[in-house]
């Protein structure tokens, strides 16, 4: 994706406006993930974990859903300030303008392909806007953290898990 400097700056401004708006939406505090947020996270997890997940099918959907549950659990364990920031990011991404303008994903999350989502993640990963780069890092860490926290993912990496025995 080649974006001119001007566009970057405009996106940056739009981004902070959207952030302010979604922040307002999320100011209510702790809550469960909405179904829109789950769909968004499932699309993102599908792209980040592509290569670790089995190809399309029920098993893939089941594992993605488990990962989204794990992300929700992780968020609940973050400090209030981090929860608020994550809430702002999610609030931004579930809104169609946020998804389209900032992430560049035209289709709703449920319909977006791994390639669409990967392209957006790649653009944020090396973005010149620290805001987007930091947001990418948060999505990356939440998703991989939730995935590799589960013992059923360890066999693929030959990790035997912690020693068992009498302690």
């Amino acid at each position: 994706m080649i974006v001119s400097r001007r566009q970057f700056i405009r996106t940056g401004v739009a981004g902070s406006l959207l952030l302010a708006f979604s922040g307002w939406l999320n100011a209510a505090g702790e809550r469960r993930l909405s179904s829109d947020e789950r769909a968004m996270l499932a699309a993102i997890a599908g792209a980040l974990l592509d290569g670790a997940l089995p190809p399309a099918g029920d098993e893939r959907s089941r594992l993605v859903a488990l990962t989204v549950d794990g992300i929700a659990r992780t968020i609940a364990g973050l400090s209030v300030a981090s929860q608020r920031e994550v809430g702002e990011l999610f609030g931004l991404l579930v809104l169609a303008p946020g998804r389209m303008v900032l992430a560049g994903v035209g289709k709703p999350w449920r319909e977006a392909s791994v390639d669409d989502v990967s392209a957006f993640l790649e653009s944020w990963r090396t973005s010149r806007l620290a805001l987007l780069q930091g947001a990418y890092a948060a999505l990356h860490d939440l998703t991989f953290g939730a995935w590799y926290a589960r013992p059923d993912t360890w066999e693929a990496i030959a990790y035997p898990g912690p020693p068992r025995g009498y302690f």
Partner: protein, 535 residues
């Protein structure tokens, strides 16, 4: 396995989980200590031993060996600040800090180094700390080494550490063995998740039980909010009880009154408490010069299994690159090998999708070397600044500037060269745009051109220091060499926040030694007994 904490509780230790408090109250003691980590634990032990009534305030929970099941999914949310995801303000540095009884010592990796003599010399020159020198402090370090079983580690290093040794030896780089504070260690490799066998001689197992046995009171899930003072003296500490989730305040408040107060909430928590309290700070030094030993990481795939999750985590090191330049010249760095566990490694590793999955499949063959950059000595290495966020909780603003990146590049080169010399099949700096290099020649060229910037190059830290630096005069520091606050007569600071620079060595033993000295001087003053014989 016996659980000394559960046994102590059963025997009647005074522990109050503030999440269970039904109503607010006011409590009195001789001394209130905020934080139960390296500094708080040692202080509680020494003050209670001199007969003072001590209250320890800890915002994290009380957990012990029976709870430590060596699972990242449990350990990070239970035992670490912000579930081990605490970040600097621009999100470019991930900070590991403990948040439980025992603080970071409950989850640390047991490496034990004394404060390097050249660091004391620098403090004498720049901060007038003439009372502190390697000689003057040596008996305090010896006392704490004895107490906490700091010994040479006789077990052979695990393969992860051996990679560092093998590579360094080939290149003629000297390697040293790390002392550890363990007793009957099972060599499991899960120190970062709390020691399940009670081998690690952390504060959770040593000083805190000692203080509780003498009748000290421990409050957990209680957040120190604000010190109340007037006329140069503190009268009380206001605290917020947290809900069982350990995150949200429950609405119950506790006021603690005492003759003396000790801030030992760690190098982010202590400056934050003082900032929230609005203590006098006419020279605007509070919270500034916070150091991290910013850590740069190099990951290698070895031909054989490394199993970096198993065995004592850090047992070998090299200080070769600390001594290449003057202490205040371009930043030197210390090399060590950290433990790897799936969540820690997967979240730190760059990239996603197929490339990430492919590297993760090599997990058992991965070796990681890290470089701890010695910040705070070079005139342009001013560290970070603790500020207060909207909710009054701390945020660390640590800008990563050119002096850091210049050192990071040298460190990435040095680590890759060592890893290839040890026989690595491939090496990658943990950096968003770095590929896997398959030879040293390729790595040398690639790293030379790698764009080093915040959020592209991964930076982490487990060593937070400074923010309430010591000095001879209030123009240069927040506290004196005894940790006494310059403006409030009955306030001491006893933790890593006292250091006026970083150390260039893992900090726990430096904190133990300095705090043992200062708590002993304080105990003498408060109890009216002669000061201890050790200087």
């Amino acid at each position: 396995m016996q659980d000394p904490i559960r046994a102590g509780l059963a025997a009647g230790w005074k522990h109050i989980d503030a999440a269970t408090l039904g109503k607010g109250q006011t409590v009195e003691a001789d001394v209130v200590i905020v934080g139960s980590g390296a500094g708080g634990g040692v202080t509680a032990d020494i003050l209670s031993a001199s007969g003072l009534r001590v209250i320890l305030v800890e915002e994290g929970p009380l957990r012990s060996s029976s709870d430590f099941r060596m699972l990242e999914s449990e350990a990070y949310p239970e035992l670490y600040q912000d579930s081990a995801a605490r970040k600097t303000m621009d999100k470019a540095i991930n900070i590991l800090q403990g948040r439980c009884v025992g603080g970071s010592t409950t989850v640390n990796w047991t490496s034990s180094f004394r404060t390097p003599p050249e660091v004391f010399a620098f403090w004498q020159r720049h901060y007038g700390l003439r009372q502190l020198s390697a000689e003057a402090m040596s008996s305090w370090f010896a006392v704490m080494e004895h107490k906490l079983w700091v010994r040479a580690w006789e077990t052979p290093p695990n393969p992860n550490n051996k990679v560092l040794a093998a590579g360094a030896e080939k290149l003629g780089i000297p390697i040293g063995a790390i002392k550890r504070n363990v007793k009957g260690c099972w060599n499991l490799g899960y120190c970062g998740m709390g020691c399940p066998t009670n081998a690690k001689q952390s504060m959770l197992l040593t000083t805190i039980p000692a203080a509780l046995n003498r009748g000290a009171t421990l409050y957990t899930r209680l957040r120190a909010e604000r010190l109340r003072f007037s006329g140069g003296r503190i009268s009380a500490l206001d605290c917020l009880a947290l809900r069982p989730d350990g995150i949200h305040p429950s609405g119950k408040r506790l006021q603690l009154r005492a003759r003396h107060f000790v801030a030992a909430a760690g190098a982010i928590g202590s400056p934050a408490l003082l900032l929230r309290s609005g203590v006098p700070d006419p020279h605007r030094l509070l919270g500034k010069r916070t150091f991290l030993h910013p850590v740069i990481i190099s990951s290698a795939v070895m031909p054989e299994r490394v199993d970096a999750y198993a065995g004592a985590p850090q047992t070998l090191y090299s200080d070769f690159f600390l001594h290449q330049t003057a202490i205040d010249g371009p930043l030197g760095f210390k090399l060590e090998t950290p433990p790897l566990h799936p969540v820690l490694y997967a979240t730190t590793l760059q990239g996603f999708g197929a490339a990430h999955a492919a590297l993760m499949r090599e997990f058992t063959r991965v070796n990681v070397v890290l470089a701890l950059l010695r910040d705070g000595f070079h005139p342009e290495s001013q560290g970070g600044q603790v500020r207060l966020g909207r909710d009054g909780l701390p945020v660390l603003d640590y800008p990563l500037g050119e002096v850091i990146w210049e050192a990071a590049r040298r460190a990435l080169l040095a680590m890759a060269e060592i890893q290839f010399a040890a026989g690595a099949r491939a090496v990658t700096p943990v950096h968003e745009t770095a590929p896997l290099y398959s030879s040293w020649a390729q790595a040398k060229k690639g790293i030379a051109e790698l764009p080093l910037k915040p959020l592209l190059c991964r930076v982490v830290s487990a060593h937070v220091m400074g923010g309430c630096g010591m000095a001879d005069v209030p123009q240069r520091g927040v506290a004196d060499h005894r940790g006494r606050h310059f403006w409030l007569g009955n306030l001491s600071i006893h933790d890593g926040s006292l250091f006026p620079t970083s150390l260039g060595a893992n900090p726990q033993l430096s904190i133990y030694g300095l705090v043992a000295r200062n708590a002993s001087l304080l105990a003498a003053e408060l109890s009216g007994r002669p000061p201890p014989l050790i200087p």
